[in-house]
């Protein structure tokens, strides 16, 4: 049974921006990742689900309710973390959390306390004096404190340090276990890959492809950079991996292999003398290119 259903959702902002013909459906308890570069239309899609935008054509529904018309009913089930968090400038974090809780009709704030401790934050200071990371934590608390059935998270871990990022992922996993449906947008492959069951790749407002996360994990090429001590080793590697990139002067080599050939690579390297070996981090763009066989028009 699908919770979130987008049916040919279209919103044209005229300057080439917007979303066009986006259709997805997310099942109850599923974690769906929205992946795409900046300006791809991730936030626009989220705003439709939040009832901030009225679809030009197509529709956005949650639990069969129209996101634009039945906004009030839906908001009690939703926890939303906006991509660009903005708080009132003249309130303390504590007061703001209390006000939102009141507007949500919450009486019991014990879980909110728990979240404060979990993220090691004391929101008593003024919101405008908070750092990006602190604001992000307050935003996360606001989205999670009422234990919503559905989480809409727009680039949730931006501004968090690595430790807090993994704590955040831990929190998401806890909610996922409890049956919460999650829609997560991100431009970071790693984040989406770690948490999501299914991933939709969006670019220039169009859905390019939907993929299974496990499928993606193994179909991807990984790139390793290494430096050989002797040129002879470089030549040996070249025989086995003729597509590798190399520089004879510095003896630095770049090899890209799919997961299925990883053991072959390790075996080949085991008989070489290396100065170093490291995995290259890819930018999102590079990942796209790999995934679509280098077609630049994705």
């Amino acid at each position: 049974m699908s919770v979130i259903v987008l049916d040919k959702l279209t919103k044209d902002f005229k300057n080439g921006r917007g979303v066009f013909d986006v259709s997805i459906s997310v099942k109850r308890g599923e974690c769906y990742g929205f992946l795409g570069p900046n300006g791809a239309g991730k936030s626009t899609t989220m705003r439709h689900l939040m009832g901030f935008y009225q679809p030009q054509s197509g529709s956005a529904t949650i639990d069969g309710l129209n996101c634009w018309r039945d906004q009030k009913q839906l908001q009690s089930k939703i926890g939303y973390l906006p991509g660009e968090i903005a708080f009132p400038v003249d309130m303390t974090g504590k007061n703001y959390i209390r006000m939102i809780a009141k507007m949500r009709g919450m009486k019991d704030l014990s879980y909110e306390k728990e979240l404060e401790d979990f993220f090691e934050i004391n929101p008593a200071s003024e919101l405008r004096r908070m750092s990006k990371g602190m604001k992000q934590k307050v935003g996360i608390i606001l989205a999670f404190m009422h234990k919503p059935e559905l989480l809409l998270l727009d680039e949730p871990s931006s501004g968090l340090d690595p430790l807090m990022q993994s704590k955040f992922i831990e929190l998401m996993e806890r909610f996922k276990k409890a049956g919460t449906t999650i829609l997560l947008s991100s431009h970071m492959f790693e984040e989406v890959e770690r948490t999501c069951d299914r991933i939709g790749i969006i670019k220039n407002g169009r859905m390019i492809q939907e993929i299974n996360a496990t499928e993606l994990r193994h179909s991807r090429l990984k790139t390793f950079e290494l430096e050989c001590e002797e040129e002879a080793d470089l030549n040996k590697l070249l025989v086995q991996f003729p597509k590798m990139l190399y520089d004879r002067q510095t003896r630095i080599v770049r090899i890209s292999v799919p997961d299925s050939r990883i053991n072959e690579l390790i075996a080949a390297l085991s008989v070489c003398r290396l100065r170093y070996l490291k995995e290259e981090k890819h930018t999102l763009e590079e990942y796209f290119m790999q995934f679509y066989g280098g077609k630049s028009n994705v």
Binding site: M50, G51, Q71, Q75, P88, V89, M99, I100, M103
Partner: protein, 261 residues
């Protein structure tokens, strides 16, 4: 329909503006009532008869007449106008532009409830401002100009001024609801009231530019008619109607528009 947390938050966040402008108004009210001396004004009247200054100061030989031409054409117009321009913009457009409106909308609260509550706050704050100013005026004239003030006319004068400012606030509020950018809301919501003021000033200075009086709200607040005690009712009704229409329009637009939050 009405949200108490939003109402309280709006009070907290705008109290300093309300306090400052109310204080300034009370101060000027006190000073102007003190300045009035019937004899001195009478002699100015004779000298300036038939000149532009005479146009500006006509019929100022009673306390209420004097106040009508000084306080109620300048301070009582300008200061609350500034209040409306600033606070009107803060209530909605600034929150959309800055983005913190999304927090309110993420809770199970209808858009209508949010802007309706804010409209109520805006209207109540202005009515309260004029209640305070009016009471201070009565108190001060009782202390310094005992027996000079005709209370009925004074009350009507303040009622009219309050209605005028409610209508003015409806312009700034409507602009604030319609525009997503704070600067656009400021330009329209602030520009129109300021234009009205300048336009009304020009109308007073020249007899040839009478047409201009139809494109300003200020001529609807006609102090001369209030002092005469005649024909002011229609103007009051029109001001009230403008208030109702523009507030409703702003609220309706806000409920239907796309919000880039």
């Amino acid at each position: 329909m009405f949200s108490l947390p939003i109402f309280i938050q709006d009070i907290k966040s705008n109290f300093k503006f309300w306090m400052a402008f109310t204080l300034v108004l009370c101060l000027f009210m006190t000073v102007m009532i003190n300045v009035f001396t019937p004899a001195a004004i009478g002699s100015i009247d004779k000298v300036s008869a038939g000149t532009i200054v005479g146009n500006l100061l006509g019929g100022a030989n009673t306390l209420i007449g004097f106040m009508a031409n000084s306080f109620y054409t300048l301070m009582a117009i300008v200061f609350p106008m500034l209040y409306s321009i600033i606070v009107g913009n803060r209530l909605v457009a600034e929150k959309v532009d800055h983005g913190d409106m999304s927090g309110l909308l993420s809770t199970p609260t209808k858009r209508f409830t949010i802007v309706f509550t804010k409209a109520v706050f805006f209207l109540v704050s202005l009515i309260l401002m004029w209640t305070v100013v009016c009471l201070v005026g009565i108190g001060v004239s009782h202390l310094f100009q005992l027996g000079e003030l005709s209370l009925d006319t004074f009350l009507l004068m303040n009622l009219g001024c309050c209605l005028y400012h409610l209508a003015l606030s409806s312009i700034t509020y409507c602009a604030s609801c319609v525009f997503n950018l704070s600067k656009m809301s400021m330009a329209i919501g602030g520009g129109i009231p300021l234009f009205f003021y300048v336009d009304a000033l020009i109308v007073k200075l020249s007899d040839n530019l009478d047409v201009l009086k139809y494109i300003t709200l200020n001529t609807l607040y006609d102090t001369a008619k209030i002092i005469d005690g005649k024909d002011y009712g229609t103007n009051f009704a029109i001001l009230l109607l403008i208030t109702l229409v523009l507030y409703s329009l702003g609220i309706t637009v806000f409920c239907r528009k796309d919000l880039p939050l």
